[in-house]
Amino acid sequence: MRFLKKIKNFFLILLLLNSQNLFSQGERFIHQERSLYTNIIVTENSERRCMRFTIAHHYGQNQSCQYLQEPEKLVFPYAKMVLSSLLIQDNPKKILILGLGGATLVHSYRALFPDVDITIVEIDEAVVRVAKEYFGFAEDSNTHVLAQDGRVYVKRAQLRGEKYDLVILDAFNGEYIPEHLLTQEFLKETSSLLSSEGLLVSNTFSTSRLYDAESATYASVFGDFFNVKMNGTGNRIIIVSPSGLPSENFMNERAMTLYPRLRRFGMDLRDFPILMDTNRDWNRNARLLTDQYSPANLLNN
C-alpha cells in the first residue's frame, strides 16, 4: 500500500511540474535556492531571464527581468518610471538603492553615469550572489553593496551625516515592502539623507490595498509629491523632491534634451512629464503608517 502511495505521489508531482511548464510558456528554472529570507528563483525563456521570490508564478510576481539579447532594454515599466525622475534631478553624483533584486536600476544608472557613486543595501546575501552570477551585477570602486537591513543602514548613514542626490526605495520581500520601511519615521530618516537637490524615489504598487495608507503616509511627511502611474502596470512610483517640484514646462524641456540618452533603455522620456501627477487620489482618512502601527502585510491581504 505504501508503495502504491509513493507511485501515486510521484505521478502527482510529475503532473504538477508539467502544469507549471504549461502555464509559464517554455520557462525553464535555471537556479533555485532557499535563502535565509526567501526563495530565490531564476527562470529563463527564449527572450528573457527573471528573478522572483515566490514559487507560484502569477503575473507580476517577477522581481526583476533582463532581455537576453538586449540586456540594456528595460523589461518592466517600473524601471522606466524610476528613470523618469531624471526629469527633476538629471545629474546625481551619489545614489543609494535599497533592494538589489536583479540589479536592473544599477545597470541603467551606471550606463548613464559612468562615474556616479552607487551604494546598494540588500538584506539577503544570496540575492547579491544570484545577481552577480545570473544578472551581470559586479562591484567596483564606484559600486558598493552592503548585505544588511535597509533601515539600519539609513539610521547609521544619518549618524555619519551622509548625503545622497538620489535615494531609491526598492526593497521587497516575497509579499510586499517590509513593514518597517513604510513608516513615517523611516521616511523622515531617509529624507534626512538627501542633499539639497536630492530626490527620494520609491517603487510601490497602485493596485495594492495599502495604496491609501501608503500615499497618505508619504503626503503626511512630504506634502506634495509626483505620483507616477502608467497603463499596463500595477507599479506606482513616488517621486519626492524636498527642494520643490518643477513645472511641466521645465520637465518637457528637459525631456527634449535628455530623451536621446535614454532611448537605449527602450523608453521615450518625452512621454513622462505628463505622468508627473500631484493629484491626491487616495482616501485621505486612511490611517497613517508609523513604527507603532504598521500592519502593512495584513492590510495588504
Binding site: 535565509l36 529570507y37 538584506i123 544588511q148 537591513d149 535597509g150 533601515r151 539600519v152 539610521k155 547609521r156 549618524l159 517590509p178 513593514e179 518597517h180 513608516t183 519615521e185 523611516f186 508609523t290 513604527d291 507603532q292 502601527y293 504598521s294 500592519p295 495584513l298 492590510l299
Partner: protein
C-alpha cells in the same frame, strides 16, 4: 478540592496561568516589531529575541519553583503578576530611548539587538516565567496527581501562548498601536494580580 471556594480558587489559577502564557507570547511577538526600526528585520533580530525569552523563562521557572517550596500562597502568586505588570512599564515608557542608546554604542546589529532584548524583555519575562511552576505547587495536593496537574498546567499555559500569538499577530497589530497593546497587557497583568490577592484573602488560602 470539593468545596466551592476551592473550586473557585483552582479555576482562577488555571485562568491566570492561561493569561500569563498568552501575555508572554504577545510580548515576544511584539518584540520583533519594537526592535525593527533600530535593528532591522534580519534573521538575527528574531534570534536575539527568542534567545532572551528562552533564557528568562528558564530562569523564571527555576526561581518560581524554588519560591513555591515554603508557604505557597495566592497572594504571592498575585505578586508575580503585579511585578510583571510594572516591569513592562519601562518597555513602554523608555523602550525608544533605550534602543537609541544601544544603537549609538553598538555598531553590530547582532549584539545591539541581543543587548536591547535583554534590557527590555529579560526582567518581565523572568517574572512571568515564575507563574507556571508556582501554580503547579498551588494545585498539587497529592504526589500521585502531580504529573497530571503539571501536564494540565502546561496544556493551559501553552494554549494561552498559542492564542496570545495568534491574536496579536492576526488582529491586535491591525487595530492598535504597539504601546496601546503593551499598556493593555500590563493592565491585564495588574488586574490578574489584584484578583489573585483578593481571592487568596477571601478563601484564606
Amino acid at each position: 478540592m470539593h468545596s466551592p471556594s476551592r473550586f473557585l480558587r483552582n479555576s482562577l489559577i488555571f485562568i491566570l496561568t492561561f493569561t500569563g502564557g498568552g501575555i508572554i507570547m504577545a510580548i515576544e511577538l511584539l518584540g520583533g516589531r519594537i526592535l525593527a526600526p533600530y535593528f532591522g528585520s534580519s534573521v538575527f533580530v528574531w534570534g536575539s529575541i527568542i534567545t532572551v525569552f528562552m533564557l528568562s523563562l528558564s530562569l523564571g521557572y527555576l526561581i518560581g519553583g524554588r519560591l513555591s517550596v515554603n508557604n505557597p500562597s495566592l497572594t504571592r502568586f498575585g505578586n508575580f503578576f503585579i511585578v510583571g505588570s510594572l516591569l513592562l512599564l519601562p518597555l513602554i515608557l523608555y523602550g525608544q530611548s533605550i534602543m537609541e542608546e544601544v544603537f549609538l554604542r553598538f555598531e553590530d546589529p547582532r549584539y545591539g539587538s541581543l543587548l536591547v532584548s535583554v534590557l527590555l524583555f529579560f526582567l518581565p519575562t523572568s517574572i512571568l516565567g515564575m507563574i507556571s511552576p508556582y501554580s503547579v505547587r498551588l494545585l498539587v495536593t497529592h504526589g500521585q496527581h502531580s504529573g497530571q496537574i503539571a501536564g494540565l498546567l502546561y496544556f493551559v499555559s501553552t494554549l494561552g501562548s498559542a492564542i496570545g500569538t495568534l491574536g496579536t499577530s492576526f488582529y491586535l497589530v491591525l487595530w492598535f498601536d504597539i504601546n496601546v497593546i503593551l499598556g493593555t497587557l500590563s493592565l491585564t497583568l495588574f488586574m490578574c494580580g489584584v484578583l489573585a490577592m483578593m481571592i487568596g484573602r477571601l478563601s484564606h488560602l
